[in-house]
């Protein structure tokens, strides 16, 4: 039923912030996060005619697109370089004054630690704290709901240890 679908602009306004936060937790600069978020909604806009609300929730549908766009970004820009920077905590090349200021905002360091987690753990935390249910996280990560819960809890423990080591 077409009537079951929200107007795309409503979807856009409701989810833009959450999708941006999800993406921002994966990448090292706000500029990259904006580019990927823009790509997510461009793709979603084009594909919206094919979206069927009875098969999935709008959130799960959008976050799947966001996850794919983020993975595409890593493939295009070289995940190895990103990991090296994360491990060595080197400043990123494109850090501008606004980026420096953003670093001062509370929780920025915590999200950097999330970005440093293994891919599936990072996804589990980012998707869960972006408001998805464990069932939806499981669907996106192609595992059961229980497996998604386990993955999430392992990710939280790994994050806690990483935070403790850095004293964040």
């Amino acid at each position: 039923m077409v009537a079951d679908r929200p107007v795309f602009e409503d979807l856009y306004r409701a989810y833009l912030g959450r999708i941006y936060a999800y993406v921002r937790a994966q990448v090292t600069s706000s500029a990259d996060a904006e580019d990927i978020t823009a790509q997510v909604f461009m793709n979603a806009y084009q594909a919206y005619a094919r979206f069927e609300a009875r098969n999935t929730t709008p959130a799960a549908w959008l976050f799947r697109i966001a996850r794919n766009a983020t993975l595409d970004h890593f493939r295009a820009h070289g995940r190895r370089e990103r990991l090296r920077r994360t491990i060595e905590h080197q400043p990123v090349a494109d850090m501008d004054p606004s980026g420096v200021a953003e670093e001062r905002i509370q929780y920025r360091a915590l999200l950097e630690h999330v970005a440093g987690l293994p891919e599936r753990q990072r996804d589990a935390i980012s998707l869960r704290h972006s408001g998805l249910s464990f069932e939806e996280v499981g669907v996106l990560l192609k595992c059961s709901e229980d497996a998604a819960k386990m993955l999430y809890h392992r990710a939280c423990k790994a994050l806690k240890e990483a935070v403790a080591m850095e004293g964040v």
């Binding site: 833009l16 904006e34 978020t37 806009y45 606004s98 929780y107 915590l110 980012s126 704290h129 935070v163």
Partner: protein, 404 residues
């Protein structure tokens, strides 16, 4: 480490994660920028089809009304659609503009969704800045304030061809909102002075962000001052374009409808972008302050087009809900009734209110504040050789929907 302690630490971490994800948001203006880009990339046929589907759905949701009214609405909306999709924009002449979405940027609510509303009033004792009406913002010299009683009459013509008008509401911003706004400009928090949500600085300028002011009512604002390292700006078209270039370079160009005017005083030019709200069946209505003067965003320029100061409303998201409004006759009666009882005497000046127009006025109401429609009447009169201006603000929302 005991399990309960570890559980507590994990719980605390999860709360921090919740906060981190909830407070991580794109910079101010990104949402509308991206939406505009997405709209621009759509084929015109798709836009027209969506507009048509939206129209049909909208009509289905409306309670039964006479078919003639539906036909009239169809004619108006289709006409507006043709104009919209042809790229033509309505506006008040060459100075009217908007840099973003107008109706689409607001989150629509059901009719009367905000409940009963407090009433807008003019701030007592404040002097109007101009001796003429607000429909044509002017640079004429300030008019004088007359504090005594007057006897009012109405000699103008007021037509209100619409029965509902939107009321807009914003939530009082937090210091976090102010910090995010400043961060989007590349500024760093310096302090939180009394009366301000924050004071921030960049290498080029300082920013202060203030919350809503109760009296005279004023929405949250940002002030950029002093601007030290910005050189002259080249822009064709005059001071307003210079100001807009300066604002756009900092993602501060208004996303709301406005008209512009420039007031020259010595070496200083003050560019005013006067905010307007769209009302279906009327057009655009100015936002007015406690004196009845239109206002919005201001940029001060030196004679060589160098910006020195900017002050404007903090970008905030608005909810909108439609409310029934009073008739023209009711508005006139209310305006005339604003004369104090027994005001008429031999020495009481007679004031003919000669013009009236729909305006919007800010009403501060705690956590949420409202932009409400009102009818602003005005007329000038002379006492002992001095010309005064009298303004009367009548709330436009039907009394049944107001708390006072």
């Amino acid at each position: 480490m005991s399990d309960p302690e570890e559980d507590l630490e994990l719980e605390a971490l999860q709360r921090q994660l919740d906060d981190a994800f909830e407070t991580t948001r794109p910079r101010i203006g990104f949402e509308d920028e991206l939406w505009t880009r997405m709209q621009a990339r759509r084929p015109a046929g798709t836009r027209l089809r969506d507009a048509w589907l939206g129209l049909i759905q909208g009509i289905r949701e409306v309670p039964a009304v006479p078919m003639a009214a539906v036909a009239a609405v169809l004619v108006v909306i289709i006409g507006a659609g043709i104009v919209t999709f042809s790229g033509v924009h309505f506006g008040g002449g060459s100075t009217s503009a908007t840099s973003g979405l107008s109706a689409g940027q607001y989150a629509p609510q059901a009719s009367g969704a905000f409940g009963r509303l407090p009433s807008p009033v003019l701030a007592p004792g404040l002097t109007p800045k101009a001796a003429n009406g607000v429909s044509q913002p002017s640079t004429t010299s300030p008019g004088a304030d007359y504090g005594g009683p007057v006897a009012l009459t109405w000699t103008g013509k007021l037509v209100l061809n619409f029965s509902i008008a939107p009321v807009f509401r914003y939530q009082e911003p937090s210091t976090n909102t102010a910090d995010q706004f400043a961060t989007s400009l590349g500024a760093i928090l310096v302090s939180r002075p009394t009366g301000y949500m924050g004071s921030y600085e960049t290498t080029n300028f300082n920013i202060r962000v203030r919350g809503t002011v109760q009296s005279p009512a004023h929405e949250p604002t940002f002030t950029i001052l002093p601007i030290t390292s910005v050189g002259s700006i080249d822009a064709a078209g005059g001071p307003a374009d210079v100001a807009l270039v300066f604002l756009a370079e900092r993602s501060l160009a208004p996303t709301w409808q406005y008209t512009s005017e420039a007031v020259v005083s010595g070496d200083l030019t003050k560019v005013k972008l006067l905010r307007q709200f769209g009302v279906s069946g009327y057009g655009y209505a100015y936002l007015v302050d406690g004196t009845g003067e239109p206002y919005g965003l201001e940029v001060d320029l030196t004679s060589n087009n160098r910006p020195t100061e900017a002050i404007g409303p903090l970008p905030l998201s608005l909810d909108a809900a439609s409310y029934p409004i009073i008739s023209a006759d009711q508005a006139v009666r209310s305006a005339l009734a604003s004369s104090p009882p027994g005001a008429s005497s031999a020495s009481t000046p007679a004031v003919a209110l000669t013009s009236a127009e729909l305006v919007y006025s800010l009403v501060v109401a705690g956590d949420h504040s409202f932009y409400e429609p009102a009818i602003l009447f005005s007329g000038s009169f002379t006492v002992n050789g001095t010309t005064y201006v009298k303004r009367v603000l009548v709330p436009a929302v039907d009394p049944s929907q107001r708390t006072s």
